[in-house]
């Protein structure tokens, strides 16, 4: 029983991180139909920047905020410089470019910081909380993961559902041409979508780094899990990203806990296949709208 509870708690915390990165993938996919394979690497590079800042004695929370801001700028830059010029050509081109960016970012990080793994500090203690007299596999830092990703999710939902900026962003994603005819600056909003995805990716990096071997490749597997989560959630819905993240996190946690951690990536693959066979459009995807 204790094992089950601990595995579940671990899965919950990991699931929230996958949800954050899945949200980044969703923000970009719904607006531009591009799967950003560099999303994890972008989070990796911003986390290395955080590591540098911390190494120079910058206080943790300042570094944290600075890196979210850097993620914002990096996302916007990638869209403007690499993705925008490819608009109107084959849909595959920007996807290939994101794969190229992934390779470049990992190469750059390897050159600057080395390829061996190092440590990254957590915002809060990583030793398990004590409930009654039992120590559980859920730390203060896990609570922080839970809260920060929930804040990110709620902020995203409020933005999309309750603000006119969010209305513009949704309209631009659904129908760029009509939105432009209504005076909406669609290009600017697409850039903003990539920038917000950059923030979500940076947050994911900061949350993963303390619990993994922090190297230029530490986000690769996380991206695979986040991609699984995003597909389960339908690739278009922030709520879907959250639920998909939790399903993925719990599933691979059970696989790791009961079958062995080496099987976790395989577990994600099986989950992805089952999800695609059972509901190809994703759990939270709306049926395609009838266009008349």
């Amino acid at each position: 029983m204790g094992l089950f509870v601990n595995i579940t708690l671990d899965g919950l915390a990991n699931g929230m991180i996958f949800a954050a990165l899945a949200l980044a993938l969703v923000l970009i996919f719904r607006a531009t139909r591009i799967v950003n394979f560099a999303q994890g690497a972008m989070g990796m590079i911003t986390t290395f920047i955080a590591s540098s800042l911390l190494g120079r004695g910058v206080a943790y929370w300042w570094a944290f905020l600075a890196v979210l801001a850097i993620g914002f700028v990096l996302g916007a830059l990638v869209e403007r410089v690499l993705i925008r010029p490819l608009q109107g050509k084959s849909e595959l081109n920007p996807v290939i470019v994101t794969i190229g960016l992934l390779v470049v970012l990992e190469g750059v990080a390897g050159t600057i910081y080395g390829n061996s793994s190092r440590g990254f500090p957590a915002a809060y203690s990583q030793s398990g909380l004590t409930v009654g007299h039992t120590k559980i596999a859920f730390s203060h830092f896990d609570v922080f993961i839970l809260v920060s990703v929930l804040v990110l999710m709620i902020a995203t939902l409020v933005l999309f559902r309750a603000t006119s900026l969010g209305l513009r962003m949704r309209a631009s994603a659904f129908s760029g041409e009509i939105s432009r005819l209504l005076g909406v600056r669609v290009g600017l909003l697409l850039t903003l979508g990539w920038a917000l995805a950059g923030v979500a990716g940076s947050l994911a990096g900061l949350l993963v780094a303390p619990t993994s071997s922090f190297s230029p490749y530490f986000m690769d597997l996380v991206l695979v899990y986040a991609f699984t989560a995003a597909v389960i959630g339908g690739l278009e819905s922030p709520v879907g990203a959250l639920i998909g993240g939790l399903i993925t996190g719990l599933s691979i946690s059970y696989v790791g806990g009961y079958l062995g951690s080496g099987l976790q990536p395989l577990g994600a693959l099986v989950l992805l296949m089952v999800a695609l066979m059972a509901r190809p459009e994703g759990i939270f995807a709306r049926p395609p709208a009838r266009r008349v």
Binding site: L167, R168, A171, F174, S175, E177, I178, S179, L182, V292
Partner: protein, 227 residues
């Protein structure tokens, strides 16, 4: 602004008066849709000029042209199906109105189309063809455009709905300074509400005259308008 003068396509020159409806007629492929898409900036022509109330529109971004007061209702009912009816309307007011003015404009649109007011929070994808057409026309009118471009609003609509739409269009135009350019294959119903009409064929103007004169010319009707 006293009038909107438009030049596009292969030396297509036409003048549309404010407070009046100018019909652009002609068969498929005559260049009617291209004409509208050129004016609103969706199509960039290789040469020529598009001038609207003294400003050159050519080369400007679609959204900037919209903000000049040009409302283009494209062919095939451009509702954003994934947004609600009210969100579709609100979207068109965001650049031009404050919060209070916006709410008033939305209510006024629902008064104009009472049928839509029951569907405020429904996704536009659930509307019928006629309701979608009401929504896009309401959405175009809500921003109080100076130039309204309508591309085949009668397409796929029942004759009665088309007739109601045309009357509404005339009522909304008369006595205002809005210039309406109405592209139609349904020449008969377009001529019934227009003051002026232009017949296009293969990208060139065949005739440009009073709507009543064109409607009375049986040879022209037979040749180009199919009735």
């Amino acid at each position: 602004m006293s009038y909107g003068a438009i030049e596009a396509l292969r030396s297509v020159t036409l003048t549309a008066r404010p407070g009046a409806i100018t019909a652009i007629l002609g068969a498929n492929g005559a260049g009617k849709t291209t004409l509208l898409r050129t004016i609103s900036g969706l199509v960039k022509p290789r040469a020529g000029t598009v001038r609207f109330s003294g400003h050159e529109l050519l080369g400007r971004a679609v959204e900037d042209i919209a903000r000049q007061g040009v409302a283009h209702v494209p062919e095939g009912r451009g509702v954003i199906a994934e947004l609600t009816v009210e969100e579709n309307l609100r979207l068109a007011t965001l650049w031009s109105m404050g919060r209070r003015e916006r709410q008033g404009a939305i209510e006024a649109t629902f008064e104009l189309f009472p049928r839509l007011s029951g569907f405020r929070r429904r996704h536009a994808s659930t509307l019928s063809g006629g309701e979608r057409q009401m929504l896009v026309i309401g959405r175009a009118l809500i921003s109080r455009p100076r130039l309204l471009l309508l591309d085949e609003p009668s397409l796929g609509l029942a004759p009665l709905v088309t007739a109601q739409l045309m009357v509404l269009l005339r009522d909304q135009t008369e006595g205002t300074d809005m210039t309406v350019v109405l592209v139609e294959q349904n020449a008969r119903s377009a001529l019934s509400v227009s003051q002026h009409a232009v017949v296009l064929n293969l990208g060139e103007v065949v005739v440009s005259d009073d709507a009543a004169t064109i409607a009375a010319d049986s040879g022209l009707r037979h040749h180009y308008l199919g009735f």
